[in-house]
């Protein structure tokens, strides 16, 4: 078996979910080749070559790939992918955008967001917002799979020295173009990579009150998330959303503040190692999954926590 792993990066840094995806590739077994497609990505390719177990890094360095436009990247991945038994990518917004396009170009069904590898052709994945786990088998010649990072422990980023092969013949389809982006800037860790995540729900009352969470987060070195209810109410932007339709997190410690615990939210955080719930409603469903529950007014509890720590 030979596995092609599509690296996640921003042209400068190899992103952590790539290491989780490589862990899934290792479980499948066989030779692992990493594709780094982007612009001025020699640094990223070098980083990928350092990862233990990577046998080769393919580098497609071209302006056509600079912004990960699926119209340009998917044909590249599909053409390379024909020679592999598996094509894997992290289930990031890029992976979700590009890989189904790859699967259709290869005329195969994709298996989305696997959380475990049962064998080289059989995988587990959550359906119905994590309320059921499906075991899915693929008989495709090329198995196209996105990997949910929280299901696999990241491989160490060093220990290897794979050769880097530069690919030629990039093509810009010209049917799409990058216009701009607005990225949230924060000194706090990324939600999906943080060891501690603090999330606020509708109980926060308004966006300004999230400052209570930010202060506590800075004390703990935590990332800050939110429930869909808090996002829908306009308290905070959607990229903070944790849940079925937002980010999936599995930190060491998850603290849910003013979150009732709708199933859509639980789908995004219930794999966390330790869950703390702070809610004034002692009947809130979040307490059914929490290791430690504290019933009370979050506007008393959160500042008290901040000053205690």
């Amino acid at each position: 078996m030979t596995i092609l792993v599509v690296a996640e990066h921003d042209n400068h840094t190899l992103a952590a979910p790539t290491l989780n995806t490589l862990a899934a590739a290792r479980q499948i077994g066989g030779e692992v080749v990493v594709l780094v497609a982007g612009l001025d990505v020699s640094g990223v390719a070098f980083a990928a070559a350092q990862i233990a177990g990577v046998s080769k890094v393919l580098m497609a360095d071209d302006a056509a790939y600079a912004r990960q436009l699926p119209e340009n990247v998917a044909p590249l991945v599909a053409n390379l992918g024909r020679d592999f038994s598996h094509v894997l990518a992290p289930a990031t917004s890029n992976g979700k955008n590009i890989l189904p396009r790859v699967a259709a170009l290869l005329d195969v069904d994709q298996i989305s967001e696997i959380i475990s590898v049962e064998s080289a052709d059989t995988f587990k994945r959550p359906i119905y917002a994590g309320n059921a786990i499906a075991t899915v088998q693929s008989n495709a010649a090329v198995k196209v799979i996105t990997v949910r990072s929280t299901g696999f422990e990241a491989l160490p980023a060093e220990g290897g020295s794979a050769p880097i092969v530069a690919l030629a013949g990039a093509r810009d389809t010209g049917i799409s173009a990058f216009v701009g982006e607005e990225l949230a800037t924060s000194d706090r860790p990324e939600l999906t990579a943080a060891d501690i995540v603090l999330s606020g729900g509708r109980g926060m009352g308004n966006g300004d009150n999230f400052s209570h969470l930010y202060r506590l987060a800075d004390k703990l070195g935590a990332a800050v998330g939110a429930s869909r209810a808090a996002v829908d109410a306009g308290f905070v932007p959607n990229d903070m959303q944790v849940g079925q339709t937002g980010k999936i997190v599995a930190p060491q410690l998850y603290i849910a503040v003013g979150i009732s615990g709708a199933i859509q939210h639980l789908a995004g955080m219930k794999e966390s190692k330790v869950i703390v719930a702070i809610n004034k409603d002692e009947e809130a469903p979040i307490f059914q999954v929490a290791d430690y529950g504290l019933v009370g007014d979050l506007f008393d509890i959160v500042p008290a926590l901040t000053s205690t720590l």
């Binding site: 912004r67 699926p70 119209e71 917004s93 890029n94 955008n97 890989l99 189904p100 396009r101 699967a103 259709a104 069904d109 994709q110 959550p126 359906i127 119905y128 917002a129 309320n131 059921a132 786990i133 075991t135 899915v136 088998q137 693929s138 008989n139 010209g174 049917i175 799409s176 173009a177 990058f178 216009v179 701009g180 607005e182 990225l183 949230a184 999906t192 501690i196 703990l220 990229d239 079925q244 339709t245 060491q252 410690l253 199933i263 859509q264 190692k273 330790v274 869950i275 703390v276 307490f287 059914q288 999954v289 929490a290 430690y292 529950g293 504290l294 509890i301 926590l305 205690t308 720590l309």
Partner: protein, 249 residues
């Protein structure tokens, strides 16, 4: 421009689904079914484009069981002009749905196709991207804003860490994210009117598409349950537990 909207009939998002005892799937007997929430957003966006004078006709399509006519009627009540049901009994995978939609696109020649980003049953998040591959069109997935500008489409997308805007040649495929719009409710007069709007039923064979899949679901299980822990009485007790018992801070 003509806009095609694809919708899916799924279990209502308020229903807590249960896995069948024989692990063959989830129990959908006597369970409330609805239009997938992301598909409602897709219909709403098309209706808004028509209200702005950008869209001239809205065709809504579903690939699914006969009962999906209910959801198509809902879309007609919300403002779609006519409906197509590609009638397929079995539970389909995304590639099969994308192939059926491709055949409808070939026939209808829309300038814009809007779909939900993912269905809340299979959670695949594939069909729109696959349709884009099969048609060769550009794709604007996870859209939070869509603006038609001449022969281009500017789509703002929800991505990890923020927003990205891309410019797409038309025809194009868009998949909706939550914040694109807030869908309206159908009014009673519009529900009555929708009953008279045309709804055409076609078979996959008529479209010449194969619904075969390379994926097979072997079993469906309930997830490992997480048991409730303890209630602590104070902030001090919580901190003590997190430090000494759970050892996470």
């Amino acid at each position: 421009m003509k806009v095609l909207v694809a919708i899916k009939r799924v279990v209502d998002y308020n229903v807590k689904v249960r896995v069948k005892a024989d692990n063959s799937g989830v129990d959908l007997a006597n369970v409330k079914m609805s239009m997938n929430p992301f598909c409602e957003i897709a219909v709403e966006e098309a209706v808004r484009l028509k209200e702005k004078g950008v869209a001239t006709e809205i065709v809504v399509v579903s690939v699914g069981p006969t009962t999906a006519q209910e959801q198509l009627r809902t879309a007609l009540a919300l403002g779609a002009d006519r409906a197509i049901l590609v009638e397929a009994a079995d539970e389909l995978n995304s590639l099969a749905v994308a192939k059926a939609l491709k055949a409808v696109v070939d026939k209808e020649q829309p300038q814009l196709v809007i779909l939900g980003k993912q269905a809340i049953d299979s959670d695949n998040n594939q069909t729109g991207q696959m349709l884009a591959a099969l048609t060769g069109y550009a794709q604007g997935t996870f859209a939070s804003n869509v603006i038609v500008a001449g022969d281009k489409l500017n789509v703002t997308r929800e991505i990890d860490g923020g927003l990205q805007t891309v410019s797409l040649n038309l025809p194009a495929i868009v998949t909706t994210d939550l914040r694109l719009n807030e869908p309206r409710y159908a009014s009673l007069p519009n529900i009555m009117k929708a009953k008279k709007k045309p709804l055409e039923t076609v078979k996959p064979d008529d479209l010449g598409v194969s619904l075969a899949s390379t994926n097979k679901t072997l079993k469906v299980e309930a997830p490992a349950a997480r048991s409730a822990g303890i209630k602590v009485k104070s902030v001090a007790e919580l901190v003590e537990k997190l430090k000494n018992e759970a050892k996470v801070i």
